[in-house]
Structure formats: C-alpha cells, structure tokens
Symmetry: C2
Subunit: 317 residues, 2 copies
C-alpha cells in the first residue's frame, strides 16, 4: 500500500466503529446556500460523540488493538478533542486511558476527560515535557501510544465520515474539510477519491497556522511553528503519514483569516441553529472566500463541520 490507509481500511473501520459512534446527520440551509451561491451539504461531526470527529479515529484505533495489547491500556498526549475521544473509546472497550496533559490546559477539558474515567498526568506545557511524560507512563503501564492523527488506524477512522457523507449525498462535486495535523483530511481523501475518482478535494486552513498551505505550495513538509489563530484544533503540524496523502490528493489548500472564521462561525450559529467550534468554521469561511469563488464548477460541495466544543462563556464576538 502506497499510503498509510486505503479504502478497505476505511470500510473496515466503518464496520468496526459503527456500534460506538453516531452516524451524524447531513444538514442543509437554503439561507446559507443563497449566501454561498452553491449547494452546501454539512456533515455534522459537531453532533458526534464527545462533540467532534475525533471519536471515529480513536474508537477505530482502540477497538482494533488485540486483547492482550489492549488490556495494558492506551496513552496519548493531548489537551483537545482527541483526549476526550480516546478516554471514551477506552471506557467503551473497558480498558484504561492515560492522558498526558499540559498543566495549563483549562480545567473544563481536564474534567471532561476525567468524566470518561481516564487518568490524567499533568506536565509542563512543552512538547519535550509531554513526550517525556508519555514515555514514562508507557514504561510504567506498558500501554500503547496512540498518536492523535499520524497513525494509520486514526486516518482510516476519520475517513469514515466521508463514506457516510457520500452514501447520503452521492453526487458531490467536492468535499472541503479543515486541516491541522491532517488526520481528518487524509482519511477523507482516501475514502472519497476511491468512491468517486472525479471528486475535488480541498483543505481549509487558518492563515495563522498555515503549515499545510506552505508545505503544499513548496512540495516539502514544513512544520508549524508559533501558530496564532482562534481555530485551536488546527495548531499542529502535518505528520509523515498524513502529508503524502494530502500532497497527492488535494486540489488546493485555502487559507482564511481569523475574522473570516469568526464571521463564518456566527453565520452557521445564526442561520442553522447549530453550534460549531472555530476550527469547524474554517472550511465554511473558505467556501465563502474569493479563493473559492473562481471554482464555479463546484456546485454541490460537502463541508465537514469537524466539532462543536466551545466555551460558551468566551465567545469570539
């Protein structure tokens, strides 16, 4: 296999995780279509368990572990949606989850992860400290490290959202999704292109964390340094497994500024009455952008709304 996952892996993932995830709805809005000047189909992963698509990859990876490996538990370092997803997937399998989290993480995120019964290990807020702490935990528990995105089973799991979207709306011209580490986008690429060889695949990225854009432009994997954006789910760099897929499958990567992201987020709240987080608003902003306007042949566009976890006391408007 040339890439970290193929359509068979995505289809197996879909069967494996079906009992543990929601088949999320695809929503439409005449009002938003009117503004966008095309037909948009929103795959609502904000309604997914733990409020984000991360539950797909996490449950695929956790459920796929052989029993004798699984029983020693799973380990990751994350303070975001993946931590919650891994905690819940482990709980559903009846194994332990060990989550390394910077001590600066908001207490609401800590509480959510603890609510799923995971053990939290606090560390200094640096990558070095996170990796060192995770290594200690693995040493002690024998648990399996699961990377939030740069992992074949995670990529295959995230791709299942494109399977569902194309089952429900088979005749899409394009799918657009946010890109951070690339787990979601690469999974979608693998799944969607296998189902429809003519489909256009587009990633949307915050201008303040545009490593994928710069990598794509130069053809070289460029890591993210010093990201600065409200889309806090998209701060990470591409990985060596996700990068070749997005490099080869994407038509383009569209970057959007934070004020456009906030505008798009508010538009979806207002018109569709659903709650999406800033990261999920990034592809919405991209579809409304000048960069997208030139692609007038893309009349029916699927948009993955990646998550809905926001702090209701700190809205960005």
């Amino acid at each position: 296999m040339e890439y970290a996952a193929d359509i068979n892996a995505v289809r197996e993932a879909a069967r494996r995780i079906a009992p543990f995830i929601h088949r999320t709805p695809v929503m439409t809005s005449e009002a938003v279509n009117h503004i966008a000047g095309r037909e948009l189909f929103f795959k609502c992963e904000n309604f997914q368990k733990v409020g984000a698509f991360k539950m797909r990859g996490a449950s695929n990876a956790v459920m796929k572990l052989p029993d004798e490996v699984a029983k020693r538990g799973v380990v990751t370092h994350s303070s975001g949606n993946f931590a919650q997803a891994l905690a819940l997937a482990a709980k559903l399998r009846g194994i332990e989850a060990h989550i390394v989290m910077p001590r600066t993480a908001p207490s609401v995120k800590r509480l959510a992860v603890e609510g799923y019964g995971a053990t939290i290990y606090q560390c200094e807020p640096t990558l070095v400290a996170r990796e060192a702490t995770a290594a200690e935990v693995i040493e002690k528990t024998g648990g399996t490290l699961l990377h939030p995105y740069n992992h074949p089973d995670i990529i295959a799991g995230q791709g299942t959202c494109a399977l569902e979207l194309l089952e429900e709306v088979p005749d899409l011209d394009a799918i657009i999704a946010p890109i951070g580490g690339g787990g979601l986008m690469s999974g979608i690429c693998i799944a969607a292109r296998a189902i429809d060889p003519n489909i256009t695949l587009i990633a949307a990225e915050p201008a303040g964390a545009d490593d994928a854009y710069r990598s794509f432009q130069t053809g070289e994997l460029i890591p993210q340094t010093g990201p600065n954006t409200i889309a806090d789910g998209l701060l990470t760099s591409l990985g060596d497994l996700t990068w070749p897929i997005v490099r080869d499958y994407l038509r383009c990567i569209i970057t959007v500024e934070d004020d456009r992201i906030i505008e798009a987020m508010r538009l979806i709240w207002q018109r569709m009455k659903i709650i999406i987080e800033p990261s999920a608003a990034v592809p919405v902003a991209a579809v409304m952008s000048d960069g997208f306007a030139s692609m007038s042949n893309l009349k029916r566009v699927g948009i993955v709304l990646s998550g809905g976890n926001v702090d209701l006391d700190r809205l960005p408007w």
Copy 2:
C-alpha cells in the same frame, strides 16, 4: 366539533403545508437522558423555517385562504416569530403581508420581517395601539387578520409537529411543550390524543408568566398581566379557542423559574450542540424539575424545542 380543531384538521394541515415547511429532525442525547433519568426525544422546531414552529400554523392559515380572499393580503400584529412566519408564508403564496409592530421592537426583528418582503406598520407599544393600527390596515387593504394563536387554522397547523413526532417515535409516554398563548400546546393535544388515547400531555410555563398555570388550577381563564420572564415567546394570555383544549387535555402545567430556564438552555447548547431560545428551554427545565420527578412512569418523553431565535450578542449567562 367541540373544539377549534380536530385530528382531521391537523392531518389536512400536514398535507397542505408539507411543501412549505421542514420536516424537522427528532434528536436524542445520551448525556441529557442520563441527567434527566429518562429517555427524551427532542422535536427540533428550532430548525424549522424562520427558526420556530410558528411557520406551521402561519403557512396552514395562509395556504388555506380562498384565492379571492388571499389576494387582498394578510395582516397581524406581532414582533416575534409569528411575524416572520406570516411574512414568509405570504411570500411563498405570492401575496402581501402587513405586519403591525411596536416601534420599540428590536431593529433585527424588523429587518428579518422586511427581508421576507412584508410591509411593516409601526405603532405605539400598547395593545390598544396595535389593534387600532391593525384595524386601519385592514380597512385600507381588505386584508385578512390572522391571530398568532387563537385561530383554528393556526392551532391545526401547530399540531402537525406532534403528528411528525409520533410518526417517528410512536411509543411515547408523554409530550411536553411550552405554553404561552396555547396555539402550539392545544394543537399538540388534539393531534397526540387522537393518535394515542393513553398519552400524557404536559405544558411547561415560565413562573414569571404563569397565566395558564393559574387558569388551569382555578378552572377559569385568567389573562396574563405584567409578565416578567426571559422566555419572551411566552408572554401572552391563552385565547378562548386554546383554553378549552388545554383545560380538558392536559395532565398538568409545570412552572419553572428563569434561572432554571437559563440552566436548561445552556445544557442543551452544551451537550446537544444546538441553539434553542429561552422559550424552548422551558419544557427542558420542567422535565428536570422536582415537579416532574414524581411522574416516574413517564419513561419516554417527547419535548418540543419550539424555536432557536436568540440574539448572539446578548446571551443570558
């Protein structure tokens, strides 16, 4: 017919309005079920056109008018969701809507109604001024006055949401909905009881506008005076058509304080990632209340989330 509407009128309404409304989804949430200690089925009228169930009654009344009456237009006085619903229904029929609105109404509401092509007539913010202005408009245009709730076609139209809910979840023990003027609740009563003679019907009302509760307790229609609640869709009094239905069909009316309403609204936003307005949170708060706890035999409860129109710049927390 003993009451203003019967099940046949509701079924006719459902056929009549089908092309003009959304069949809204029924959502569930394991997290919210866990908190409530029962299975809840949320009929999402916040996703209805114009963001509220009002579109059902308005389109039934507008589409049912004979051509020679319809062509003179429709008239109402309202500053809330019914104004928008009537404006859109009239637009869809290709007739004029004349909306009398107090000059104190927020400009965002005026703009929304104008956006649907209706004509707005501003008046002083008193009932006397509203009725006088409406009478003038009718005199001038020959338009038909449509009351927001105390009207047989409005009642029948609102009842269609119970038809859909029971089609999708046939084995409910109870349905609970907010009560203001009683159009929604009375329509639900007529529809649901005809389909399932054993179903329990419950209304939820803000403690700060509890005319229906007091009417129900005393057996006499008591008008609302000086309402004071965040649930701004539920300020009105019952009408002489809605009152006999709720009087005869309801098991009880549960009142809830504003702080409980805000808590319930936030819970739904947080856990279900959908936007509901305070009035829609009233039955959610009621289901979580001590008053509901005693009804432990009601295991599967339908809740009508009546609307999702909120000012995102002025959230109540």
